[in-house]
């Protein structure tokens, strides 16, 4: 639908949010996701996974913009992001 005026909350809804998942036991702790997350919301966790590495943890879940760079840079298929349901939009039915 073509909008004839910009909604007041445009800036707010435009930002896609993501939910990050870590498959901890696949992680080898290289830190690439942490280093290259554009919003710097990831950090090493304190605990060890099965293989003895510190998997990343999400320091600021609300900061994820679902760019998926962590997912594509991770050499281990250990982290990915899914799009968060938009808080401001109601289901259609």
């Amino acid at each position: 639908m073509k909008l004839w005026r910009v909604p007041l909350d445009a800036g707010h809804v435009k930002v896609t949010r993501g939910i990050v998942h870590v498959i901890e036991d696949r992680c080898k702790g290289c830190g690439y996701c942490i280093e290259y997350c554009p919003t710097h919301i990831l950090g090493f966790s304190k605990h060890y996974n099965k293989k003895g590495y510190h998997p990343p943890q999400i320091l600021n879940p609300d900061g994820c913009v679902h760019c998926r760079y962590c997912e594509i840079i991770c050499p281990e298929f250990a982290i990915y992001s899914v799009e968060a349901p938009k808080p401001d939009t109601q289901p259609e039915e």
């Binding site: 939910i19 998942h21 690439y32 594509i72 298929f77 990915y80």
Partner: protein
């Protein structure tokens, strides 16, 4: 609503990575070392395969021998882990015997350009419809870090303890000169460009070649004072994207930078097409081989 709490990373469902369908998940974690870039290059390759929307069962991955060549073993498609240097002629046999297959060769620089160099240039010359992804980590990772045909001059490896006295191949130039239809170079850090490039190459008939610069922190990095993240910083800071740059201008660095991009992309009839036209023009498409 699913939510990721601070400090917690697990949801109730066992998490499923978007590429799990394309991965042999029962073989995860893979053998690649922490910080090795092969996994990222491989991930980009699988994403590209998925992104083409082509039927999954038509994809075949063929590898030679080496760390990179373990790729075939992790791709959840028909996959062949062959002998050192011989992925391309094996793949040539597959493709000529069944032109419906989308054959991806995923292998290392040593495999494709030292022991397998002759096969590479001939497959490019014939324009065999293959997509060849070369993980270039500047050395022989699997055997412990020996000099390769891609090792920079003066770099240290176990067999060049005084520094490499030789010069490396400019492999995009080699691919171009030998007749490849598509030539690109990225680093694993440029994962999105890499993915797009591989996807484009997969959809393109003929011989496509993509070089992926990738860290081998364990064997190359260690001897050349590059930690894994240092290598990534080099990829970030010392590269420049010049699509369409002539492959002859890619020798070494330009203004201190490694040139990345899609260098060559031309349409020309593939090996299969030329065979049909030249040798069995009356045969039509419904053939057995």
């Amino acid at each position: 609503m699913e939510s990721a709490k601070k400090g917690k990373t697990q949801s109730k469902q066992p998490p499923r990575h978007p590429l799990d369908d394309w991965l042999r998940t029962d073989r995860m974690p893979h053998i690649w070392c922490p910080g090795c870039g092969i996994g990222t290059a491989f991930s980009a390759c699988l994403s590209a395969m998925a992104a083409t929307g082509l039927p999954k069962e038509n994809f075949v991955m063929v590898s030679g021998i080496g760390c990179s060549a373990r790729g075939a073993g992790y791709a959840n498609v028909d996959s062949y882990h062959t002998t050192h240097g011989r992925a391309i002629p094996f793949a040539t046999g597959l493709k000529l015997a069944n032109p419906d297959l989308n054959v991806v060769v995923f292998s290392g620089d040593g495999d494709l350009f030292a022991i397998g160099g002759n096969h590479f240039i001939h497959a490019a010359r014939r324009n065999v419809d293959l997509t060849v992804v070369c993980v270039n980590n500047y050395n022989y990772g699997m055997t412990g870090g020996q000099v390769a045909a891609t090792t920079p001059h003066l770099a240290k490896t176990t067999t060049t303890p005084r520094g490499n006295p030789e010069n490396p191949f400019n492999i995009p130039l080699l691919a171009f000169a030998a007749g490849a239809a598509y030539v690109a170079r990225w680093t694993m850090l440029h994962a999105r460009d890499l993915m797009d490039s591989i996807e484009e190459a997969l959809k393109k008939p003929g011989f496509s070649f993509i070089e992926v610069l990738s860290p081998c922190p364990i064997n190359y990095g260690r001897r050349n004072k590059e930690k894994a993240l240092d290598t990534l910083h080099i990829y970030q800071e010392q590269t420049i994207i010049k699509n369409g740059a002539h492959p002859a201008e890619l020798e070494g660095r330009q203004d201190g930078k490694i040139v990345l991009g899609k260098f060559w992309d031309v349409a020309k009839p593939s090996c299969n097409e030329l065979y049909e036209k030249t040798c069995r023009p009356d045969f039509g498409k419904d053939h057995a081989a």
